[in-house]
């Protein structure tokens, strides 16, 4: 369970998160929608401790992420994150990209890590690209590799930060299919996305962020069907 309690965060004078309260239950798929600058991506990087917060608490399975005593490297093994820019490691092959963290963080043996990496890469449809360098892959393939890389750590939670935003429209579908597959496997996921159709289809709940505030949260049918706030109505009208 991920519990976010009254989290505030500013970059300089700009307050990007203005007291967010949100609980994500195990097995739940939550998508976060909202305009750019609404704080949704920042929230994700706060959940795995890549960004510090100014006040409030974030608890992952009861462990406070930003507590001094928390071993973030250990906690991050539970929380996979995939970014808009996939950040493939260019000097490693696809297989090595995926094997790196299981080997170095979990101390897995080479054959075990390799078996795990192959399994995850096959899962995302890259079983035939193992010994290729990322520069030879399309954006969509690199993004799927990044997903496999995160999954190879067997995380309990997956965070997706606008993973299709930097992709050619032709390649969006293959990445969304991978996310659907994960959702149907029962993975607990938080997806920040601009893909409304996707949000409507896979989410258990959808949250709408507006100017650092979580303005609405509801199951997709309700949120998309009967938006309450004028801001959400405007947003949906603009993205429809």
């Amino acid at each position: 369970m991920i519990e976010i309690q009254n989290v505030r965060k500013s970059f300089g004078a700009l307050e990007v998160l203005k007291g967010i309260d949100l609980t994500v239950h195990n097995g739940e798929v939550l998508t976060i929608i909202g305009g750019s600058g609404s704080g949704k991506s920042t929230l994700l990087t706060c959940i795995n401790g890549l960004e510090p917060i100014d006040s409030g608490r974030i608890l992952v399975d009861g462990t406070e992420v930003h507590a001094r005593s928390t071993d973030l490297n250990k906690l991050r093994q539970k929380i996979g994150i995939v970014f808009q820019q996939w950040n493939a490691f260019p000097h490693l092959t696809v297989l090595e990209n995926v094997m790196l963290a299981p080997r170095k963080v979990k101390g897995m043996s080479k054959p075990d890590a390799e078996a795990m990496a192959v399994k995850q890469l096959e899962h995302v449809g890259l079983g035939d690209k193992l010994s290729v360098y990322p520069s030879r892959l399309s954006g969509g393939q690199q993004q799927r590799m990044a997903i496999a890389r995160a999954l190879a750590m067997s995380p309990k939670y997956m965070l997706f930060d606008e993973v299709t935003s930097a992709l050619d429209p032709m390649l969006v579908g293959e990445v969304l299919d991978t996310l659907r597959l994960l959702a149907s496997d029962g993975m607990t996921m938080i997806c920040v996305t601009h893909e409304m159709k996707f949000a409507r289809e896979v989410s258990d709940r959808v949250a709408f962020f507006h100017q650092g505030v979580m303005a609405e949260i509801a199951p997709p049918a309700e949120l998309f069907g009967a938006p309450k706030s004028p801001d959400l109505q405007k947003f949906l009208a603009a993205t429809a």
């Binding site: 795995n48 950040n87 490691f89 963290a101 170095k104 520069s135 750590m153």
Partner: protein, 221 residues
């Protein structure tokens, strides 16, 4: 016109001794590069660290190495430290001086290379659970070394040429030192140093060629 008769035979007769000297030159240069690269990585980590003392040490090192004559650096490594009762052999002093210089220049090259690597690379590593040091070691450093490969080759050539400064601290077993001694013996100045220059040239060319071949094997991505 010139009142000088070339006597190449005398110089060429000394070729085996000079080639022995060339081997010493290469040993010193290679060793100074190997240690220099390792030190430059450490200096880079110092500069990345949040400690003011460590980054201060690294910055001073780089500033002195790059902004004072290499001759001064080698001189200090011999006669300078001797003032404090530390006595190194000419060979050791030369190695220390060149290594100091290499580390300073390479650390600066590494800094430039780091700028070409997006922060998101280390961030992606951290998000997978890698520690800061692991992210540097396995993700950032290999890319940094690749980007710096060409400047490293230049520094290697420079290290070979810097060995000639060893004569100032009494080094007489390297290529330049041997040539200098032979000159004192035979006075065939032009011929001997011309042969030495050709050897220097060939060594540096071989290094550049070797580096290119190595790069082709190492960097397949």
């Amino acid at each position: 016109m010139f009142n000088y008769t070339f006597q190449w035979k005398q110089a060429l007769a000394r070729l085996p001794q000079m080639l022995d000297g060339a081997v010493v030159t290469m040993q010193v240069a290679l060793l100074s590069m190997a240690i220099g690269i390792a030190l430059a990585v450490v200096l880079t980590l110092f500069r990345l660290s949040r400690s003011r003392i460590l980054s201060g040490i690294a910055t001073s090192w780089v500033e002195i190495a790059r902004n004072t004559p290499a001759l001064f650096q080698i001189y200090m490594a011999h006669f300078g430290v001797a003032s404090f009762g530390i006595h190194f052999s000419p060979w050791t002093s030369l190695l220390l001086g060149i290594t100091f210089n290499n580390a300073g220049y390479l650390a600066e090259n590494f800094r430039g290379a780091l700028k070409a690597i997006p922060d998101t690379q280390a961030r992606a590593g951290r998000s997978l659970g890698l520690s800061e040091l692991q992210a540097f070691r396995f993700i950032v450093m290999p890319q940094m070394l690749r980007i710096s490969f060409l400047p490293m080759t230049n520094q290697m050539v420079w290290a070979i040429l810097m060995t000639s400064l060893g004569v100032t601290v009494g080094m007489n077993t390297d290529l330049y030192g041997v040539t200098q001694d032979l000159n004192a013996l035979t006075f065939r100045t032009f011929e001997l140093f011309a042969v030495a220059a050709v050897i220097f040239y060939l060594i540096t060319k071989i290094i550049q060629l070797g580096a290119r071949l190595l790069a082709r094997r190492m960097f397949r991505y």
